[in-house]
Every structure is written in C-alpha cells, then in structure tokens.
Amino acid sequence: MRRLLSLSRSVVGKKVIMAVSGLILFLFVVGHLLGNLKVFEGAEKFNAYAEGLRTVGAPFFGRGQLLWIARIALLVSLVAHVWAALGVTLASRQARPVGYRYLETSETTYAARTMRWGGVLIFLYVVYHLLDFTFGRLNPSFEPGNVYHNVLASFARWPVSAVYIAAMLVLGLHVYHGAWSALQTLGWHRPPTDRWRRGFAAAVAGVIAGGYITIPVAVLAGVLR
C-alpha cells in the first residue's frame, strides 16, 4: 500500500496507473464490441445475451451481481484513469510557462496530440450512451429488456448514428496512441515487442473503431431491422 502510494505521487507512477486502468477499460471495449456484434444474430439472440450479462455466474451469484462487480471495477478504472490524466497534464502545463514562438514536430502523431481532448470527448460520449441504452432517458422508445429494439430505435435516427460513428473514430485514435503508449509505459520495449508495438496498436484501434461502426451503418443501411 505504501508503495502504491509512492507510485501515485510520482508522475512516472501516474502514467503506470493510467496504463493499467486504460488496459482494463480497453478490455471492456473489446468485450463490449464482441457482445454487441451479436446484434447481427437477430433480436432473440442479442436480447438473450443482454439477459445473460445479468444471469452469468448463477447459481453462485445472484441476478446482476457479477454485472455490478464489473461496473464497479470499470468505474474505479475510469476514475483512476482520469485522475492520473489530470495530474500528468497539470505537471506538463506547469513545466513550460513561456512557450516557443514556433516548435516544429516530426515524430508525434495526431492521435498523441489529441489524447487529452479525445479523452474528454469519449467521456461525454459514454455519459450520453448510458442515458441512451442503460437508463433509456435519451432513447426514442426505450423498452427495458428489449435491447435489440432500443439499439435500432436510436440508430434509425441518422444524427444519433452520426454521433456514434464520430465517437468511435475518436475512440480509435485514443486507443491507437493509448495502446502503444501503455506498452511503452509498462516497459515492453525489448525485441521482438519493439517491432510489433506500433502495428499492433494500429490494428486493434482499427478493428475496434471499424467493428463498432458496422452497427449504426447496418441499421442505417437497413441490414438490421
């Protein structure tokens, strides 16, 4: 505990916390994508999957218990991730009080430079998303338990689909720099990792953004109805 505390006080340590919490959120994003793709198997299977999220672990866990454990783990990860990001950003802001007239960049990427605002956008998106599908407040015709219907009802409106698609592109950028950066922060640099890190980050980011985007596109195109 004392050592975790000393980790949290250092900016190098905060980056470790950011990397680990980010990897947990990343695992969720991958799992959520795999689950969501069941929407292509039809209403019955997709709704059964959503119901399964609540009954999984029975009879050792009661209804929704494991789901709540997962939610709490995600929330803790999110808080740690944002808290560390704030600390790191503040340290860097203060580190250069007088800026350059001009500083050229050559190595950095668009993804790396947009991590801070990209994170804020993804957070806002998640809030909207929960209000849409979990709480149903912003869903045009929310039916508890009929997840398939809820998804189609939202995505049938093209502005909603456009927001989702844009958010997935932002998420892809965030995951691209995040994945490679996390490997760097956790010290995974030795051969052969150094050769596949960049490509790996690009591939998972592409698959995640592309995978999620298929759903609103399929609804708009009338493939899912």
Partner: protein
C-alpha cells in the same frame, strides 16, 4: 551569404524577453551556426551594443554546452547535429532564421540564449556513486559484459546532457535524459548494486525540478543530437516500476521509495 536573424534577447531571468532582428552579410557557408553568432557579436561590439549571450564550449559536438532552438528545432534542422556542428551550407541564401532559448520551467533563462541547466546536475547527483572500484583501470576481462548490453550501455552513454530532449518535448519532460543516465549504468554489472536506489532518486529529483510528464510523443528522440532512442524511456519506466515494488530500503539513509 546574407541572412536575417531574429534572436531572442532577454537581459536577465526576471526581465521580459523579445526577438530582435539582425541583418547579417558576408556569412561563409562553411561557418558553423555558433560562428555566425560570433560574427554578429563582433558587429554588435563594434556598434557598442550588448553581444548575444549563448553557451558553448567544445564546438565539436561532444560537450553538450551549446543549445538553442533554431527555426523551431532544438539544435536546428539537421538530424544528429549539435548547434556548434550545424553549418550554414544547410541554409538557403537569404534565409530568415529564428533563434530562441530552451524553454522549460526547470531551465530558467539566465540571459538571451543561455539557460540554467543545473537541474540536470542535481539529477545526476541524486543518482549517486557506484560501488565499483575506481582508480587504476581494472583488467578488461575481469567482469564479462554481454556484447549487446555493452552496445546498448554505450548508446545511452552517448548522452551529452545538452537538454535538447526537454526543449523538444511538448511537455518539457526530461525522461529521455534521465532514461539515458539510468540505463547506461543499469545495463552494466558494475551498476547493479545501486540500481534500484539510483532510478528512484533520479526520478524523484527530476519531478521535484519541475519537468513535465512523458506522453510518448517521441519528439525528444528526433531532436537528440546523439539519436538516443525512446526505448530507453520504456526501460526507465520498467526499472522504476520494479524498483518501487522490490527495493528494500537500506539501513542507512532515507528511503527514496517512501518519498
């Protein structure tokens, strides 16, 4: 060749600075960038104006004293080149060149292009000594070092401590410098006894000096005149992490892990 220089002039740490424009003729393409500043200073002295202050020593790219941001790049536009080794033939005739000091809270401007880099010295001091026997040179094969480790230690040891990594970093982070200094000892058998304590202390002082946090942009590596790789930053991260969790505080002295 003819040049237009815009040089950052700042009388002292407490005063505000500004760019001053100078027209310069008769510049030889064989001059180094520092010789151009010498030429300018001769003219300024002739006009009884204050010459431009800038740091330099070896002028052969090995001491790390020189350093300024030239047209938006630390040490200027050439890769693997210090300002003292940057020759004017790499600039077009009539070039307009902007020159600024390193900009970081931990590197306060002393005057014009001179910044105080003693924060780096304090980081080095925090690293402490190694317990290997110094003095007369040891027998070369007494301590075997794998070739790959020796090579990588030498790559890290190429750091001349100029500060270009901090200057280039969008976050003004000193991670590349500290990574190089931690790694060149950490890769060698002689550096093992103090390895954990060294990385913890150096990181602690680095942060106390007010450098920013690494976001893995990689700009430091592009600016480094010795082309030190950010792989060393990954190494530093790993070393730091294992040291925080594994290092047993020694009997004497404060334990850096306790912060």
């Amino acid at each position: 060749m003819d040049l237009t220089l815009h040089v950052w002039r700042q009388a002292g740490a407490a005063t505000a600075g500004r760019f001053v424009r100078y027209e310069l003729g008769d510049v030889s393409p064989d001059m180094s960038f520092l010789e151009v500043l010498d030429l300018l200073n001769q003219q300024l002295i002739g006009r009884r104006e204050e010459p431009v202050a800038f740091d330099h020593d070896c002028r052969e790219g090995i001491c790390g004293a020189c350093g300024m941001v030239i047209n938006g790049r630390p040490h200027g536009p050439r890769a693997a080149t210090t300002a003292c080794q940057l020759h004017m033939r790499h600039f077009p005739e009539g070039a307009e060149i902007w020159v600024e000091p390193w900009r970081a809270r931990a590197f306060p401007v002393v005057k014009d292009l001179v910044v105080d880099r003693s924060a780096f010295d304090r980081i080095i001091q925090a690293g402490g000594f190694i317990t290997a026997r110094a003095g007369s040179a040891p027998e070369a094969n007494a301590i075997p070092v794998p070739k790959g480790d020796a090579d990588r230690a030498m790559d890290a040891a190429a750091c001349i401590g100029c500060g270009a990594c901090v200057a280039a970093c969008p976050n003004a982070s000193a991670m590349l410098f500290v990574a190089a200094k931690v790694s060149h000892l950490g890769l060698l058998p002689q550096g093992q006894p103090e390895r954990a304590q060294r990385v913890l202390r150096m990181v602690e002082v680095m942060e106390a000096e007010g450098f920013g946090a690494c976001s893995n942009h990689g700009e430091c590596m592009a600016a480094c005149p010795k082309e030190i790789s950010i792989d060393f930053i990954a190494r530093l991260n790993r070393d730091y992490l294992t040291s925080v969790f594994r290092h047993q505080p020694s009997e004497e002295g404060p334990d850096p892990a306790e912060g």
